[in-house]
């Protein structure tokens, strides 16, 4: 295969808001052979093994954490995401009523006021409450799809990259095929065949069409790492393939995947909203920012607040994940230091 595989070729996320572009194909290699022991201890810096207390090996992760704590954008994004997470888990903390309580058609489409900060929706329900409750769906979809796509991508990428052979070729071709199908379009195709669409259907459709970049990222990291000395050392000591992959390659190859995963969540949240907006994702009475924006679609002239507020929440959520991912990348990519 003498095809030119340039960095970032095809690393484009399938997600509509498209994400990560400038991630190099093999940043994991840059992570260097941080001994897996150092990585294992990174969670508790300073807690060294006997006799190594003073050496304080600067592992990739402890360095990254030190840099992140000083990054104001990282702190801002984390704070926003913490608020959104609480909003998704306990919306009752933000509003005293339920999402479809105290609705009255007489108040339909009334704009924002002191009583109702965000005004009322077309059914005359308090819009603030509804928008708050919309956070849950977005967070669940974002995290579930990220988890699913990452597990598929990393597992297949590890096997394809480590063992190579026919499986590698097969996976590469399948990846090419699925890449050709635009995410939103493919999801519309799949979801259209379900008459009842809920969270599981939407999540599965998005997972099925978005695992490829995880695979390519992880595979290229594995290929770059598997010939390094510390892998050879582990093998010569008789470590099995599964142990080499899990204990030695995974910790050193996972950094670029985590950076991508963070930004990916933002893209998936936007994708779900897009699908629901198009009327092909979640269905009423589900509460989703995409559905809310959809309901305001024809009311741009008369009741712009119906589009405004969910759009604002949606964009801030996506922004938080992107900022978090950017900060992570700056901290984890030693080349930028």
């Amino acid at each position: 295969m003498s095809e030119p595989r340039t960095p970032s070729s095809g690393d484009r996320s399938g997600a509509d808001t498209g994400l990560l572009v400038d991630e190099q194909a093999v940043p994991g290699a840059g992570a260097g052979p941080a001994e897996s022991d150092a990585v294992a201890h990174a969670a508790a810096p300073g807690h060294g093994t006997d006799g190594a207390v003073d050496l304080r090996q600067a592992s990739l992760w402890s360095d990254a954490w030190r840099q992140l704590r000083r990054n104001r954008l990282f702190l801002l994004a984390s704070a926003l995401l913490a608020v959104l997470a609480v909003m998704a888990a306990f919306p009752q903390l933000f509003t005293s009523q339920g999402p479809i309580e105290n609705c009255s058609l007489g108040q339909s489409k009334v704009g924002p006021s002191g009583d109702a900060w965000f005004g009322y929706d077309i059914f005359g329900c308090d819009y603030y409450t509804n928008v708050i409750y919309g956070a849950r769906v977005s967070m669940i979809i974002g995290l579930v799809v990220m988890g699913g796509a990452m597990v598929i991508g990393v597992a297949l990428g590890a096997i394809a990259g480590y063992f190579g052979g026919w499986f590698d070729v097969l996976v590469a071709r399948v990846t090419d095929i699925v890449y050709g199908l635009p995410l939103i379009l493919g999801a519309i195709l799949i979801l259209n065949s379900f008459t009842n669409r809920g969270l599981p259907e939407v999540a599965l459709a998005l997972i099925a069409l978005s695992w490829m970049t995880f695979l390519r990222l992880f595979r290229s990291s594995v290929v770059a790492i598997k010939d390094s000395d510390y892998v050879a050392a582990a093998r010569s000591m008789g470590a099995r393939d599964s142990r080499i992959i899990l204990k030695h390659i995974l910790p050193n190859a996972i950094a670029p995947v985590l950076v991508y995963a963070t930004i990916f969540v933002g893209g998936i949240i936007a994708a779900e909203a897009t699908l629901s907006f198009l009327g092909i994702g979640l269905q009423l009475p589900a509460i989703s920012w995409g559905l809310q924006i959809n309901s305001g679609q024809r009311l741009l002239r008369t009741a712009p607040h119906i589009i405004l507020f969910p759009s604002l929440f949606l964009s801030v959520t996506v922004l938080s994940f992107i900022l978090l991912g950017d900060a992570l990348r700056d901290a984890l990519d030693p080349k930028l230091r």
Partner: protein
Amino acid sequence: MARYIARRLLLAIPVLIGASFLIFSMVFALPGDPIRALGGDRPISEAVQAQLRAEYNLDDPLLVQYGKYVGGLAQGDLGTDFAGRPVSDILGRTVPVTVKLALVALAFEAVIGLLAGVLAGIRQKSFFDSLVLVTTTLIVSIPVFVLGFLAQYVLGLRLGIFPIAGVANGFSGYLLPGFVLAALSLAYVARLTRTSLVENLRNDYVRTAKAKGLTPASVVGKHTLRNSLIPVVTFLGADLGALLSGAVVTEGIFNIPGLGRAVFQAIQSQEGNVVVGIVTLFVFVYILFNLLVDVMYAALDPRIRYE
């Protein structure tokens, strides 16, 4: 070079077949009966349904259906929709519209994106640099359809600068949707150009160029920019898929009679032949563009040669 292109085209064939089969099975194997749905509230008689099913090969096993489809395709026949209109007619009507939209979007990306990226790159850490960084981050965070409504509301309804929907007025109708479609990629082009330019400006050959007294414009324009464009061009090739996905949304919001809207409507009414035709066309264009990108590397960077 010619051999390289030929080999790449050969490699594209299995991908194209795989993708079209994937799309085909998604359209035809999924539940739902398009024929029954045709009649809406008034049921169609069994005899007519059977006749239509036979005509559109809907009773055959999936592989046979696909075989017949590819057989037709080989003779240039894309099939018809359920009303009997040839799919090629639908393509003929919608492709020019979407191509125009995509070209407008590409022009925005290339002009504004590159310009912003280059200016930010040569004035690192300046106010303009920060402005580009903040603006692009915001644009990337706003989903396309939200951006569409924002543009419609502010520029169309409030300021009345652009028509808000349709392309009846000719070219001006393409500007706003084109910009919305381009916005996301524009932000990436600007960022990539900046990053890549900043990286390349550190090279020895740039110092040499400066040392022998070349003007700054020549140092950047002739010596650095060409190399710096490689990741940008890569991005634009891979981005085409997102552009076509975006067209589905943008054309819907701005009511533009292009491919995106046609495929969305066809999916909803389960017009299998139309869907397969358009989506396969998307995949084909995507593959072709990526080949074009790889060929362009050689033009941009003389160090890259294809055997």
